[in-house]
């Protein structure tokens, strides 16, 4: 079963992150690398993409004649996607277990950052033959 695990943040959160000490940043990054390797070794990690900060993000709508209308996006308090993981696991419980691990990444002083991780099942392009 494929799930997407999404980590969201706010501009305020990212600003706080930018003020972490270098050693806290490195510890966080080392943890991330180690967790990704673990998920990769277990054969569960399908994809992981970090997203760029949303300063350059645009929201696009089709204008007249499909000429895009673009709009810069983010008010201070709004949550945006920092990055996601796609995992292929045996059960929804396992997906949530992995999400809990992602949320427990170390922040300043090694305290878990407690980032909220949204867990959603990915739609399959298959149907069951036999049911």
């Amino acid at each position: 079963m494929k799930y997407i695990l999404m980590m969201a943040g706010t501009k305020a959160g990212v600003d706080t992150y930018k003020a972490w000490s270098k050693s806290d940043v490195q510890a966080h990054f080392a943890w991330l690398k180690s967790l990704n390797k673990e998920l990769s070794d277990s054969g569960e990690l399908v994809a992981n993409e970090p997203l760029a900060a949303p300063e350059q993000a645009k929201v696009v709508r089709a204008g007249k004649d499909c000429v895009p209308i673009t709009d810069g996006v983010f008010p201070e308090a709004k949550e945006f996607l920092l990055g996601y993981w796609i995992v292929d696991v045996e059960s929804p419980e396992r997906a949530c277990q992995i999400a809990a691990r992602l949320s427990a990444g170390p922040g300043p002083g090694g305290v878990p950052t407690s980032m909220p991780i949204e867990v959603r099942q990915i739609m399959s392009r298959r149907t069951d033959e036999l049911t």
Binding site: I4, M6, Y17, K18, V25, H28, F29, A47, E49, P50, L51, A52, A53, P54, Q56, A57, K58, V59, V60, R61, A62, G63, C66, V67, P68, I69, T70, V73, L81, I86, C96, Q97, A99, A100, R101, S103, A104, V111, P112, T113, S114, M115, P116, I117, E118, V119, R120, Q121, I122, M123
Partner: protein
């Protein structure tokens, strides 16, 4: 350059659209062709649709690491419905692709004009991480 095009168009408490059958079929056909054209041009890296947020969970580790799971959301909270990741030469090309997705037909065949969020996908950790 990789970009993610996101449809943040699902809302908590909503269900599938109730359009007339032929409008639904036109929409599905449009989306199919849209993905196929991106595949054929070599610009499509991946695309996924997400299930309805009824089953969504948000998991947070508390300070001592134990997880807290929440499945209840305020009515009308926005959720990601799906995304495309494209690999293109310029941001303008990414916006043009997004505009086409945005123009997908809806009820009565009129373009839906969906808001599509376009963000860069990093190929390496962001500088502030290093």
């Amino acid at each position: 350059m990789k970009y993610i095009l996101m449809m943040n168009t699902m809302k908590a408490g909503e269900g599938v659209p109730g359009w007339p059958k032929k409008d639904l079929q036109a929409h599905v056909a449009f989306m199919r062709k849209f993905s196929k054209d991106l595949r054929d041009s070599g610009e499509l890296v991946s695309a996924e649709g997400l299930s309805f947020p009824d089953q969504a969970k948000v998991v947070r580790a508390s300070k001592d690491g134990t997880p807290v799971t929440d499945g209840v959301f305020p009515e009308g909270k926005e959720f990601l419905a799906g995304y495309w990741i494209v690999d293109v030469a310029t941001p303008e090309r990414a916006y043009a692709i997004a505009a086409r997705a945005s123009a997908a037909p809806g009820p009565g065949g009129a373009p839906l004009n969906m808001p599509i969020e376009v963000r860069s996908v990093l190929s390496a950790p962001p500088p502030e991480m290093l």
